[in-house]
Symmetry: C2
Subunit: 159 residues, 2 copies
């Protein structure tokens, strides 16, 4: 195993461990529980689920894997605060999106070779990438894993 | 910048960003607020602070940086649940530990060269490390950053 392979494994071990952790919590919750707030006056479980799907969906164009699967989620779960839009997807729909998305992401991730992860992503210019080689595709996984961890710590509170 | 340097920068950028985020939240809280639970019946802010200091303290021996600074925190903030031990450090004491610890950790981290981070840590045997080279020192920072992110997502709820 060369050092790029090692680094890719380190990063994806965390990503998949967190996805599995979130998935286990999600599967333990009823539809009613997903409507609960993580703490009084804070985001509801269903909003966090939609927010994570929307943020992970953004990785597809950033990593050059094609278009988003659910572009309609952006306005509701990233641009807007929870409870500011009353008409949102049902918990059942979001559960389906979450599962489907994880299948697609895993398939796309597996299509890259370790060295590919150190290439630039689509949110950085070629000029900037020469000066800032850490702004590579693997860094997108690192930052999104931390984001997922942050919200998993909140999501677990409604169990 | 070679690929090991790039990887080390990617990982430590996240670590320091999270430490700063937690620090900003901590500085915004009064001593009274630190006694509040993050959600009804869940951990208090002061417990999360002690828990993070205890977990980060463990990195010192694991990374071969010497003894723990606060070994007495382990029993209270890792082995025991919140509120099961009534005599714990004060919020003032823990704030001081947190600041001092971050100074020490930063100094220790800066003493290593990028390639050193891909050496084995002290919680893995030499035999296992040959088969599992991802169990290196940098991986300790990756996992602890995710852990810090998880609890920062909870800590922010008491603001």
């Amino acid at each position: 195993m060369n050092s790029n392979q090692t680094m890719v494994k380190m990063v994806f071990d965390r990503w998949y461990a967190l996805i599995q952790k979130f998935d286990t919590i999600l599967n333990s919750l009823t539809y009613d529980q997903l409507q609960k707030e993580i703490a009084p006056g804070k985001n509801r479980g269903i909003y966090l689920l939609g927010h994570l799907i929307a943020v992970h969906d953004d990785m597809l164009p950033i990593l050059n894997f094609g278009d988003k699967l659910y572009p309609e989620l952006n306005k509701i779960f990233i641009e807007s605060r929870d409870k500011s839009i009353t008409q949102i997807q049902s918990a059942r729909e979001l559960r389906t999106c979450w599962s489907k998305q994880n299948e697609v992401l895993t398939q796309k991730f597996n299509s890259l070779q370790p060295d590919d992860w150190f290439e630039k992503h689509n949110s950085v210019s070629s000029e900037d990438f020469i000066k800032e080689p850490h702004r590579n595709k693997l860094n997108i996984i690192i930052t999104r894993t931390n984001h997922l961890s942050y919200h998993t710590g909140q999501f677990v509170l409604i169990t």
